[in-house]
Symmetry: C2
Subunit: 95 residues, 2 copies
DNA sequence: GTAAACAGGTTTATAATATAAACCAAATTA
DNA sequence: TAATTTGGTTTATATTATAAACCTGTTTAC
């Protein structure tokens, strides 16, 4: 009847992050922060969780002299996102 | 960019309850329990929350000698559900 | 008739989660 | 060189979800 919803994706902020990365392929921390309206602390935690699950890859680099954190979605993440959307539809009756 | 998600609906079990009631108009507690696979305790709590928010109406009656709890969705609930689905689409890119 | 099991839940204790506040290091600006 | 800003991380707190324990009444078995 109802398919279970991946708890890692069923979170407003983490879903927004994944949604951005699905379209963008890669994004910097401050950009994600701005687009989602999240606080840096919250974003940092949620990025870690997605990264720990292998849904995204986090590259720590520098932009000039300043630190720069780049996030990319992985294949696993892409699949998980698609599965989540599919599962959600069993609740929403979206065709 | 991303529309906020009503926290009352952004919960696996509460969403399942609402989804059932959207199609069924009215359902008994044990039926919802069976369809959602929830424990009675969890279901009781979540039904209370939806009821307190005015998203559903709970009628306590009897079926023969046994207590029977009937749930119905309200107009408020229907609207909230529709708004939630709309908001979700900003994350999912569903047309 | 009464003990045991079951139906239909509710209450409450615990575990998990989300979130922001506090913090840190380095770079820039005044 | 002091203050401010950038780019975050860590940690404490509040919220939420969940199941275990419980309760009331009914049915069944003896």
């Amino acid at each position: 009847m109802f398919q279970p919803l991946d708890p890692l994706l069923h979170s407003e902020l983490r879903l927004a992050i994944m949604s951005l990365l699905i379209s963008a392929d890669e994004a910097e921390f401050p950009y994600i922060k701005e687009q989602t309206g999240a606080t840096a602390g919250n974003l940092s935690v949620q990025v870690d969780k997605l990264s720990a699950a292998g849904y995204i890859e986090v590259e720590k680099t520098f932009k000039g002299k300043r630190p720069c954190t780049i996030c990319r979605i992985t294949d696993t993440g892409r699949q998980a996102f698609e599965a989540y959307v599919k599962a959600l539809k069993s609740y929403l009756k979206v065709k």
